[in-house]
């Protein structure tokens, strides 16, 4: 059978290199991860580093499990997630809207391009102290920070996506007498979706960074505040536990956006 002939060289290769193939895609990274944690644990147990500075993974895990029962942990999580999601939603919607206008009108694009690029290359976290002054200690300054940090990558991708439409497709739409709106709705928007969603995937990660940094700069609630407080108390293991929780939440958010992306831009890997 054809299946056998095409499979056997691959199997032979897999036998020679145990970490190739689809099994290796799971096996290889998870063994590296386990090994790193094991080395960390061993180094810590052997007393090679001060346990107060770098606590053992088991200590971190213990703190994390303990925290899951504490209401302060979930309150902080709720605050940070709310800031992140609100900032993400506002940033993405505004960037999409403005990017569409800039993508449609060459005049607007020329006028605003230097500002957009200027902001894009500025480290936007530097604005956090300013936002604190403007919007206070509450959630608003964090939402604004999260929105600002994810705004520009989405804006740029919307613009670039709209520029990248196949000119022959535009010719076809125009030959059919499509209106501006139809050309946007049936051609420009769908053909720029792969890039727009690449920007949005980037934005969700950035929004979380924005919220945490803004909390570091000045806040009374949130996971950023929790990390700072635990560090001041020299409870480094608990601090690490919050960071691990942040990583997990970040992964979940990214994974949700990626699911939406795979649904909406179902042709991504084929175009």
């Amino acid at each position: 059978m054809t299946a056998t002939t095409s499979d056997s060289p691959r199997l032979a290769r897999a036998a020679r290199r145990p970490f190739s193939g689809s099994l290796g895609k799971v096996l290889l990274p998870s063994s590296v991860l386990l090994l790193s944690v094991a080395v960390w644990e061993a180094v810590s147990r052997a007393g090679l580093v001060n346990e107060i500075i770098v606590p053992a993974p088991t200590a971190v895990a213990q703190e994390l499990v303990g925290m899951l029962d504490e209401s302060y942990f979930w309150e902080a999580t709720w605050v940070t997630m709310a800031e992140t999601l609100a900032g993400f939603a506002i940033g993405v919607v505004l960037a999409w809207a403005l990017g569409t206008v800039l993508g449609m009108f060459e005049g607007a694009r020329t006028a605003f391009y230097p500002i957009v690029v200027g902001f894009q290359i500025t480290p936007r976290v530097a604005l956090a102290p300013l936002f604190l002054t403007w919007f206070g200690f509450g959630l608003t300054s964090k939402v604004v920070m999260a929105a600002t940090i994810c705004f520009f990558p989405v804006l740029l991708n919307v613009m670039v996506g709209m520029q990248g439409v196949d000119p022959a497709a535009r010719t076809l739409m125009r030959s059919l007498g499509a209106s501006r709106w139809e050309e946007y709705r049936k051609l420009t928007l769908p053909s720029s979706l792969p890039l727009i969603f690449a920007g949005i995937k980037n934005a969700i990660t950035l929004a979380l960074i924005g919220a945490i940094v803004a909390e570091f700069v000045g806040a009374s609630q949130g996971m950023g505040v929790l990390i700072k407080t635990l560090n001041f108390q020299l409870n480094v293991a608990a601090g690490f536990a919050v960071i691990v929780a942040l990583m997990v939440f970040g992964l979940i958010l990214y994974w949700i956006v990626e699911l939406v992306d795979a649904k909406v831009v179902h042709w991504r890997n084929h175009a």
Partner: protein, 262 residues
């Protein structure tokens, strides 16, 4: 040069003294087409043949109403050339299929934009997919198709509105020789069956002879019509025709007509 008027041009295409000069980005001018006079009768298959840069695409785009003439005018079935008409369809060098649509939805695109009766058009789309041997791919995504199949979808999309005028700009030139030959045979069969006016841009002599009733030979710099050659081969055109003495003689005649201007 002037070509004798064909009968029934009020229902065909009349190109009178068409000139096109492009303005380039650096402020210069390019004379892409000069003094084209041509009448095309309904049901005719006319090829525009010549090397790159002789203004074939420019002429086709002007007939489609996508470009204005600098001088002269073009009438399509009694009205000035304009885009957005259901009786005209254009097919380009690339298939221009939308990867977010299935094959059948790609074929239906003109129906949506021209706001035609969808139920009727849907039946027509299915017929056309059958004619182009794509029935079992109707619900597939376009990335699952080969280059030749994509161009056949593009052809089905052009035909879905039942246009009386079909404009084709080097539609098969990006395909390999075998696929191209096969699609040419299919196109000839479709033309024999459906008999619509077809304007076909190409730089392939054999293709032009095999398909056409008339060949408009063109030269570049500036783009001009050199000669219009009749192709008195019998219809239906079939593969067996390729390589016969009549066909070879016509190919040579066309080659000679253009060669002295290159």
């Amino acid at each position: 040069m002037t070509v004798d008027a064909q009968p029934g041009t009020e229902d065909g295409i009349r190109i009178a003294g068409a000139n096109k000069t492009y303005r380039t980005a650096d402020g210069g001018h390019v004379e892409a087409l000069r003094g084209v006079d041509l009448d095309i009768a309904p049901g005719e298959f006319v090829s525009f043949l010549g090397p790159s840069g002789c203004g074939k695409s420019t002429l086709l785009h002007m007939i489609a109403g996508l470009l204005s003439t600098t001088q002269g005018h073009i009438d399509v079935r009694g009205t000035p050339a304009a885009p957005g008409r259901a009786d005209m369809a254009i097919m380009l060098q690339t298939p221009v299929l939308f990867p977010w649509r299935t094959v059948i939805d790609n074929v239906m695109l003109p129906v949506e934009i021209l706001r035609l009766d969808r139920t009727k058009a849907r039946r027509r789309a299915e017929e056309l997919l059958e004619l182009t041997h794509l029935t079992e791919f109707a619900e597939k995504h376009v990335w699952e198709l080969s280059g030749g199949m994509k161009q056949r979808v593009s052809l089905a999309r052009a035909l879905v509105t039942d246009p009386s005028l079909l404009l084709m700009d080097e539609p098969f030139s990006a395909l390999d020789e075998f696929t191209r030959e096969r699609l040419n045979v299919e196109l000839a069969r479709l033309h024999d069956d459906l008999g619509r006016t077809t304007l076909f841009v190409t730089h392939n002599i054999a293709e032009a002879v095999f398909l056409s009733d008339r060949i408009v030979c063109m030269r570049p710099r500036p783009g001009e019509v050199i000669e219009v050659i009749d192709v008195p081969l019998p219809r239906p055109r079939e593969r067996a025709l390729v390589g016969t003495p009549d066909v070879v003689a016509l190919e040579n005649r066309v080659r000679r007509a253009i060669a002295e201007f290159i």
